[in-house]
């Protein structure tokens, strides 16, 4: 993604001071939070922005001429503009606020369903013989919507496999993505293997056959600079709570022309142009896809989060995590009987490391680590097919963010020794 040598740097100690939760104790130990791939912690400026919004400017948006309503609307739309800049979108109208990544992906899936049932833009029409291509490396949120869509339209779901070293297997790209493919939807960075996937060859092939491309950027947007214009996909989905923002908010970015071609998803207040009992006409994007009262305070909080991240500098975030990941990969290899799933080096790899300790179940690993204040995630990480691919039911996963330190990696390694003692 970029050269760590020229990257700006960050001081984790300074960063940590901004996150109130990081000073808490867990089971009598200072908390070592290594679960940011699941959800990130929130810095004080985000908490302040949310509290300040409710305490000073709370009103509904886009509906009122009054002062408080205008303030709320400007705050909400201001957050959209910030987010658009953060991901390099040409304009704020290409950013649709959703409740999370999952809704963002489903929004696109339901556009396909609606166009298929109701007769919309041909790019979104699916029927028997048509194909949707995903990968074996997906989070459930980028599997289930397409399974449901294919069941409901008669289209076929196909997928890229995973290589033994945890990379996307693109060897059958040209046969998998063919003229019958309407959409390719896959993960930009794996939430279980840490793999950062290539985009150019897939995008090139998709263009060739006229398929749309969605990238699930839930794990990439929070951790590295993003420029959707340079990227060249049709959609990206991401989620606020993994990028220092509040829960309850996510986003779909879509190319303007593609969003404009999509039928509405949720029907209701605000997404309309005019309503009669007989017939409704719809607003232009992004409003068309934001029915009802949106997550207003959450958008404001997410705006503060991207301000915070930009202040730190996303290049520094990426460089810091890359260093930490390298450090952790080395350190974990000193633990006996430990197997890492996914790429063994930091190349095209983010700060997520899944592993197994031979003979000890991840639940037990996680529990004993928690006893030492170390918070890791255990389970299938909502990516069960990846576990199946590597022949396990679940893994233990440490994931890093801008506030993590090498000392915390050391604590993890020490913690794993303890695990081996208990279950030895």
């Amino acid at each position: 993604m970029m050269d760590t040598l020229t990257a700006p740097s960050l001081d984790p100690a300074t960063v940590r001071a901004d996150f109130p939760i990081l000073s808490r104790q867990v089971n009598g130990h200072p908390m070592v939070y290594l679960d940011s791939g699941n959800t990130s912690q929130k810095p004080q400026p985000v908490l302040d922005a949310v509290a300040e919004h409710y305490a000073r400017h709370n009103a509904n948006v886009s509906r009122s001429v009054h002062t408080v309503g205008t303030e709320a609307t400007e705050a909400y739309e201001g957050a959209r503009a910030k987010l658009a800049r953060f991901i390099g979108a040409p304009g704020p109208d290409q950013v649709v606020f959703t409740k999370n990544s999952t809704e963002a992906i489903n929004l696109v899936a339901y556009a396909f369903l609606a166009a298929s049932v109701g007769g919309g833009d041909p790019r979104f029409r699916l029927g028997p013989g048509d194909q949707v291509v995903i990968s074996e490396m997906e989070h459930h949120s980028n599997i289930v919507p397409w399974q449901l869509l294919c069941e409901r339209t008669g289209a076929t779901l196909r997928w890229f496999g995973i290589t033994d070293d945890g990379r996307l297997d693109l060897s059958d790209l040209d046969t998998l993505v063919d003229e019958r493919t309407k959409l390719v939807s896959y993960v930009h960075m794996s939430n279980i293997l840490g793999t950062i996937n290539p985009t150019e060859p897939v995008l090139a092939r998709a263009r060739e056959v006229g398929a749309l491309v969605l990238l699930d950027c839930s794990q990439s947007v929070p951790h590295a600079p993003m420029d959707v214009t340079a990227l060249g996909a049709d959609f990206i989905a991401f989620t606020g709570h993994k990028m220092c923002g509040p829960t309850g908010i996510g986003a779909l970015w879509g190319r303007g022309e593609v969003l404009a071609a999509m039928p509405p998803f949720l029907g209701g207040g605000s997404m309309i142009e005019t309503v009669t009992m007989e017939k409704t006409t719809y607003a232009a994007p992004p409003t068309r896809f934001e029915a009802g009262t949106p997550p207003i305070a959450q958008a404001v909080g997410l705006g503060a989060a991207v301000d915070y991240l930009s202040g730190v500098d996303m290049r520094a975030v990426r460089a810091h995590e890359q260093q930490l990941t390298g450090y952790a990969l080395d350190a974990l290899q000193t633990v006996p009987d430990l197997r890492i799933f996914g790429p063994a080096t930091t190349e095209a790899r983010g700060g997520i490391i899944s592993f197994a300790l031979a003979g000890i179940h991840p639940h037990d690993v996680g529990q004993v680590l928690d006893g030492q204040g170390i918070e890791v995630r255990v389970g299938h990480h909502c990516a069960r097919p990846v576990c199946a691919r590597f022949g396990v039911a679940s893994t233990t996963r440490a994931s890093f963010y801008l506030y993590n330190t090498t000392a915390e990696v050391d604590a993890l390694v020490r913690g794993l020794e303890q695990v081996r003692k208990v279950f030895g």
Partner: protein, 150 residues
């Protein structure tokens, strides 16, 4: 009350005494615009005579700002050469989008300068622009019609 910047005398006057209101024949093209948040609407017709705006006629439902704005639009642009009218539209749109930071071009905008204060009320900008958006749309359609389009 701090609304003097918004409800200028001249706006209230156009609201009470709209100029050129009503839909007239003949016309080159018509546009219907709706403000989705309040349901206000305007129907506006443009009659072109060559490159001159021969008439702007309109009908609509709306607040004082949107009504006065249509009236001012009529008064200001009727009889003008089309390129000039389009330039006035551009200047007005710029003023409305300027959050009070744009110095209004009095010579070009005439009475429409009275709307400068609206730029400070984001919720009302759409009201002021409704008729102007219809004008721009109608002109575009008239062009298409003349060029033999639909």
């Amino acid at each position: 009350m701090q609304l003097d910047g918004l409800y200028q005398e001249i706006i209230l006057d156009h609201w009470k005494h709209p100029r050129g209101r009503g839909l007239r024949e003949p016309y080159g093209a018509e546009s219907h615009q709706v403000n989705p948040t309040c349901g206000d609407e305007v129907t506006l017709r443009v009659a072109l005579a060559g490159q001159t705006v021969a008439d702007i006629s309109y009908e609509g439902l709306g607040c004082s700002i949107s009504q006065a704005s249509a009236s001012v639009l009529h008064e200001l642009l009727t009889g003008r050469p089309l390129p000039e009218a389009i330039a006035v539209h551009a200047a007005f749109a710029e003023l409305m989008g300027g959050r009070g930071q744009v110095e209004p071009d009095e010579k070009r905008l005439g009475d429409a300068v009275a709307f400068a204060g609206v730029a400070l009320y984001p919720a009302r900008i759409k009201c002021a622009l409704l008729a102007w958006a219809a004008f721009r749309d109608a002109v575009a359609r008239a062009g298409t019609v003349e060029a033999g389009g639909t």
